[in-house]
Assembly symmetry: C2
Homo-oligomer: 292 residues x 2
């Protein structure tokens, strides 16, 4: 059997019992942790499982699937992924490949940011499509996310924005010289995301995000329990001005609040507001929330 097992959002205890059974029954375990991360390291998982983990980057999952699937006709092999196997990164290619060569497959689900974002108090029903925001570089500042965001904003829906992470990057020099030396991991911060949004808004002039009038919610380490999880909300302008430590440790996500905001959603999120009075004022005056 070939398993793909979601590890959930935070640490070794977020796996399900069904997932842990599959881990215990597997002879080889691969860990894909390049598009998202847990707050614990590989070694902690290995100790907890009592088994070694083979790190698998995107490239390996995509190009060496036959090696990953080796012997899965007769043994159990598992690919462990952060969040859910069908979260932001899907693993359909390797599942198709397994089926094509007659290996039975089993997906074990878990929470992902795509549903745990509900922790901010906004109804999942009212979210439109999810978008990703990548690190801008000097020469690459893609803004196609803006059109997706506009579609949601025009309809009044909320938008989950996933912020880029870089955990296995090479410098241009190391890349050119073929040296497998990697830069320290980088995680996009909330102020950086706000700045990139503002830059694209300025260029595109669509009125999709207006720093003083658009409400937003920053989430960090959702599902990490009271000691780790951090939710902070305010206008985009306010979030952009906060020192980075206000937002907790990575990973971060950002929600742009749509104008269908219900007063119960606003009231729940208010408990996380940088300035609850201003939060309510904007919800009332810009979003027409009726708090009676």
């Amino acid at each position: 059997m070939f398993y793909i097992i979601g590890l959930g959002l935070s640490d070794e205890k977020d796996i399900t019992l069904r997932g842990l059974e599959a881990v215990r029954s597997s002879t080889r375990l691969y860990l894909e942790a390049y598009t998202s991360i847990l707050i614990v390291q590989k070694e902690r998982l290995e100790e907890f499982y009592g088994k070694p983990l083979i790190l698998a980057d995107r490239d390996m999952v995509e190009t060496e699937s036959d090696e990953i699937l080796r012997d899965a006709h007769t043994q159990n092999v598992a690919l462990l992924v952060v969040g859910d196997p069908f979260g932001a990164t899907t693993h359909t290619d390797i599942l198709l490949r397994a089926r094509a060569i007659g290996i039975p497959t089993c997906v074990i689900h878990n929470a992902s940011i795509m549903n745990a974002v509900g922790a901010c108090g906004l109804q999942l029903y009212n979210f439109g499509q999810t978008v990703s925001l990548v690190f801008f570089t000097d020469t690459w500042r893609p803004d196609s996310f803006y059109d997706r965001l506009r579609e949601n904003v025009d309809l009044g829906m909320h938008t989950l924005i996933l912020l880029d992470i870089k955990v296995k990057e090479q410098s241009e020099e190391n890349l050119a010289r073929g040296r497998k030396i990697y830069e320290p991991p980088r995680y996009m911060s909330i102020p950086q995301a706000v700045a990139q949004l503002a830059e694209v808004e300025k260029k595109r002039q669509g009125g999709v995000v207006i720093p003083e009038r658009t409400l937003a919610i920053a989430l960090s380490r959702v599902g990490g329990g009271p000691d780790n999880e951090r939710i902070v909300c305010g206008t985009l302008a306010q979030l952009g001005e906060q020192p980075p430590n206000v937002f907790g440790e990575p990973l971060h996500s950002l929600v742009i609040v749509g104008r269908r905001l219900h007063h119960l959603e606003a009231e729940y999120a208010e408990t996380f507001a940088v300035n609850p009075i201003l939060w309510r004022e904007v919800a009332q005056n810009v979003y027409n929330c009726n708090f009676d």
Copy 2:
């Protein structure tokens, strides 16, 4: 501490280790299982936990929250919910109430249909807002979902439709006589959902769903493993014609495929098609999927 613990989608083994620890540490356990269900009964959970469960319907969670929260200042109390605590039904009211009276809270996430729907092969990124379809009665045939569906369809996004369940209904006679006798549980089937969609389309004439040209995917018991999970796809017309047992056991959900369908999404879903040739034809000719 007041915990709200997501149980995931299928049976007693879908709880996370973190969730199980919280269950073990709690002196009272409530189970909310009226808006969704596991495939196992309360008794199996009780046996597994070694503790009794108190059934809590929506009404109780909403109106008797102080009883649920009793003693949670000094003991652990847990509310168990199917899926994720912030899935289709949110539990923000009782969390707000707990905070208002100074009780610490902790939410333990899990998979819900809102993210596990990715099992059908469509990218979660490409889903718009989620809608619910309720059982039509002689006098109540609400069609506001149609406007939401149209918004998604117009943008080319996929739509997850959650199908109604009735697990604690009284007949009009029993209600009138105040007899607490409940009808057998009912779960909307896929053909019934397709018929209701067709009825509303006929009335509203928006061209949002066209039985022969709209692709759809039926999901049942997602996350229940190879023996339980069932995914079936085809045109809406095809799904409406299948005998109900084709779709597996409840709960069912239905996805309306948006026209941004990518050929990789279509190829993955094709393995679940009633008729793979017709599936591909419609994907190609109506959805302009390019399979090269």
